[in-house]
Amino acid sequence: MAYQLAAWIQCNDQQQAELIKQLLERDTRPCFVEDVPAHHQALFELLDQIEYPAETTLDQDRLWLFWYMADYFGFDELTTLLDRLELTALFIFEVPDDPLVGDSYEDEDEASGRFWMLDKGVYVRVNRTTVTDKFPDSIVERLPE
């Protein structure tokens, strides 16, 4: 479960990014598998298990996704999904639980979120500065403080 979860996802091309966006968002997600063209049904069935993102932004072949208070969905579930989609995230950000409901964190960094980046096929923890230095302001400014 994530209080906040964000990912900057590299898709294979813009068409795929647009399709994923469409299949994820509440207003455009089809109601039934039969509403989806046959060649996209497998993808739909994977994405249909996923919570609606609070924010989705397309930038060519990259997709910014942000979930707020996503029950049953967090870093582990997101990376499992990305593996199944054969996609990678350029980085992932997560505040793992609602800090207002009483969970305590060992340090302030933990409370303000965790970052991961892909390194040799594995998502490894990095600090905020690593991410903010590497990615464009247009993406970094979307991250919660």
Partner: protein, 257 residues
Amino acid sequence: MTDKNGEYKSPKSPYENMKYLWKVDDEDWVAERKEQWRQLTKTICKSCSAKRLKAHGKFFITGEETPVTQDGSIDTVTKFILTPFTNSTEANELYQLITHPQAKSRILSEFMAHISRIAPEMPWLRAHVLNFIEGVLGNEYQLIKINTGRREHIISPDPTAVCEGFTKAALKLMQNEQTYNYSVDTVSYFISALPYADRPKFRKYIRLQGMLDEADKIMQKPGVHSELVQDLARQLKEREDEIWKNWKTLEHLDQSQ
């Protein structure tokens, strides 16, 4: 209570006894229900999680309830609205199967406003309202109490809220903000609730004058508005004296405000 897989299962869901209303073996019925669901998703459960919305859809089409532990809980009033009863007897049968006083009270109080909000485009909207009135609510306001053995519960809607809600709904309909709502079919119920509208702080929100002025305007321009709007305006104007008379029953409450 848990089932054989250890999942939570409601021990007394009234909907299990009403499964016959869902014609799941009839392909045409299911196809139509699916098409209605595609429309409903635009208006229902707007802030729901994906899992909850899916649970609503499953219930609407099949009558199957998702265990609460899987975030599939559906609001009592919504569930009642999504049940495909087709006459007043079936509506009453379902209502009688619901035994929890709070659930019964919420259905009586919230069904009308809620159905207009979540299912404004459904072809069964008005039929559902009429079946609910005939089978559950009645045409006259009455104080309804039920005894659970431990204590007595008043489950009838709050009359002040009934009147406030009615005037708002009537204005919405007459000002063409909605193409249909319950007001046109509950004029008698509203008028009979007026003498019991006893909450001084909220009486000022019962917009009788504004509603009757709007009805006047509509009556002066016959043919401009829909049949429904004209019907509502006509009913209100025909019973204007009765409306004011019932309102004045508790008018002394307004002087202390």
